[in-house]
Symmetry: C2
Subunit: 403 residues, 2 copies
């Protein structure tokens, strides 16, 4: 069996090497030797900024770069947690993407991405193997709720085209704050994860639909979940405001009606379009919803208010709980109050988290268990609030549903 890591796939023609032991990140543009990752997960960056006074790389915190005699700025930063991280470069106060990497939509703009390697064997589940491959298709559809054309992506399993009579269950799968409908197949490699699970008969062949959580009605104020990034701010006064976590973004407060318009769009436009366009098995037991971070919040909001339509729910580093104050009798409008009734309807309630992210999700899972609510708690060892955690969550969640 041929196994190729994403390093080879994404980089294509990469062959240049940084320092002796430093491997170019798999997300670099073809031929770019930097950024590169050392065996101990230190990372070396290089930026050409011949006339700049100060250059920093921002990955987690800000790290000063040092100008060499040749005018190239370099920095080697301490060992990083494994996984996919957004980052940016600051050149004399200007926050920009590192031109040496491909860019990825996160925090509301196209910033840089770096893949801090895990051992090749650990990455196999999200790498392209010599197995049948499904397709990820771009699908445009008109939304009556927003009055606009929208784009979603639809994964169809490898056998979809060769079995023109078979019908499939559907997982609706969502991105996080500041990301979009491309995140799961670009940053998340959901296609390879499903191809591999299906080939090993660990997961049922399924359709996976990935849409954009931003949905605004014509008469509704745009909440712009995406657009509070430092880049889109209108003035230097705004620019001076403290940035939030991640590369250049500050997260807005979520409005009281968070997610209500998207839930309406999903029920009115998205699910009917999917069920008319694809060969879909009917009914709640063939419908799942999951998401990461803000997409997990949305999944809890949508599913817990529509238990007649979904039988599976996943929150990857995001749910309706985990911040304390959970009361099984009253939280989520009392949906958990009758545990037996809830357990009968909800086939899988999945809560995933990276071990570096803190105890909130574990506490929520335990509170649910204490209240008699069946749930699966999955902890990704050694990972943070980023795509490696969420790839692992999907890899654990997908085999549990539609059984």
């Amino acid at each position: 069996m041929r196994i190729f890591t994403l390093a080879l796939l994404a980089c294509g023609l990469c062959s240049a090497q940084g320092a002796d032991d430093c491997k170019p990140s798999s997300l670099n543009i073809p031929g770019a030797p930097y950024p590169c990752v050392h065996p101990d997960r230190r990372v070396t960056f290089r930026v050409a900024a011949p006339d700049a006074q100060k250059v920093q790389v921002r990955l987690g915190g800000a790290h000063d770069m040092i100008r060499g005699a040749d005018g190239l700025w370099m920095a080697t930063i301490p060992p990083q947690v494994a996984g996919f991280h957004y980052y940016s470069i600051v050149i004399d106060g200007s926050v920009v993407a590192d031109p040496a990497t491909r860019s990825f939509f996160g925090s509301g703009w196209d910033n840089s991405g770096i893949e801090i390697s895990e051992p090749e064997a650990d990455a196999a589940y999200y790498s392209a193997k010599d197995v049948p491959h499904g397709q990820v298709s771009q699908r445009w559809y008109y939304s009556k709720v927003t009055g606009k054309w929208r784009r979603c992506y639809v994964y169809t399993p490898p056998e979809y085209d060769s079995h023109p009579r078979l019908k499939y269950p559907v997982l609706y799968l969502f991105h996080g704050w500041g990301e979009n409908e491309q995140g799961w197949h670009t940053q998340g490699h959901m296609d390879f994860i499903l191809d591999n699970l299906i080939a090993e008969k660990k997961a049922k062949p399924m359709i996976i639909v990935m849409d954009n959580l931003n949905a605004v009605k014509p008469d509704e104020a745009a909440t712009l979940y995406f657009a509070r990034s430092i880049i889109a701010r209108p003035s230097m006064a705004d620019l001076a405001a403290p940035p939030g976590a991640g590369a250049g973004g500050s997260r807005p407060g979520f409005p009281a009606n968070f997610g209500a318009t998207f839930t309406e769009l999903m029920l009115t436009d998205l699910i009917p379009m999917v069920e008319q366009t694809y060969r879909v098995l009917p009914g709640r037991e063939n419908r799942a919803m999951a998401g990461l971070s803000m997409g997990g919040m949305q999944s809890f909001q949508t599913v817990l208010t529509n238990l007649d339509k979904f039988a599976y729910l996943g929150g990857f580093s995001g749910s309706s709980g985990g911040r304390g104050g959970f009361d099984p009798k009253t939280s989520n409008n009392g949906v958990f109050a009758d545990a037996a009734a809830f357990n009968k309807k909800m086939k899988v309630l999945f809560l995933g988290i990276g071990s570096v992210e803190g105890p909130g999700t574990k506490n929520f899972s335990e509170a649910l268990t204490k209240a008699g609510i069946h749930n699966v708690y999955f902890e990704s060892p050694g990972t943070a609030h980023e795509w490696l955690t969420w790839r692992r969550c999907l890899n654990d969640f997908a085999p549990r549903i539609f059984k």
Copy 2:
């Protein structure tokens, strides 16, 4: 009928305005008011670089930006030719993408893009209308020629899934230098162009395959057509070399065996995979190849050496001629020497160009005509070597093939 311009589609939640009469580019990140385009096609840019000494915008030439009292740099540049243009920002000598726009892979890196508007009616053919929509699907396949997994994109027409017995002809369609397999559906909007042509019964329903022209055998030196961008250069000495046309790129010379490996890959791996995976009509009269710029060169190279396999050929701002020295008796190994024989085989030979690009393609077309070779010459009025020219070329070419 509902018609929405790409401005609405791509920008989504854009509502902020720049100056009174200046409309945010449709390619801005959500909420970003700049860059914006004035009615006379001047463009205003804004960059936050509070501590920089010198900031420029590079679109065609370099334009100095001016630092305002608020620390924001601004520039309004002269009227630009309509269409899609790559551009970049230079901050104290560092060439980077403008973080206020989505980024697009061109010149070998993810630089910025701006859409200089044409009148809305002129953009309708590449905009989403209320017609049946096809799908653009991401397809991974293994190449025996390169020994690697590769990604291509495949457009299937709207009716493809609902007519599971029908078979379709295939157009193989290619990007230009420094671009990749995503260009045609991201920058080119080929899906909307075909959806609209098919809905109006102007073009036959067809499958369109878009692959990456970079193909290197395991024992072959990487030619890295993509990686000569200023970004990937290893040293300041290289960085000081004069940049070529476009944003930060300098085009390498094409090697003597240009395109030979890709032709081999196409015949060995790509076409067999497509014909095994999709419902494809057999034979040369159901197979076309076209491309823009370097993709046009590749199309001429592949098709003119394989007339038994293709009956349609398109070069959009790129072909095998146009630089003088064309001799119908000897050029391209004499394939044009017997005009009657050539005309019998080649159903459509299409040469497209933007009127701002110079007379080379027109001269080539006239030389072919003089030699008795039937060909179609298409000139896009008022456009340059960019995607608006190529959208128009595809819109003119697609209705001519498979008739």
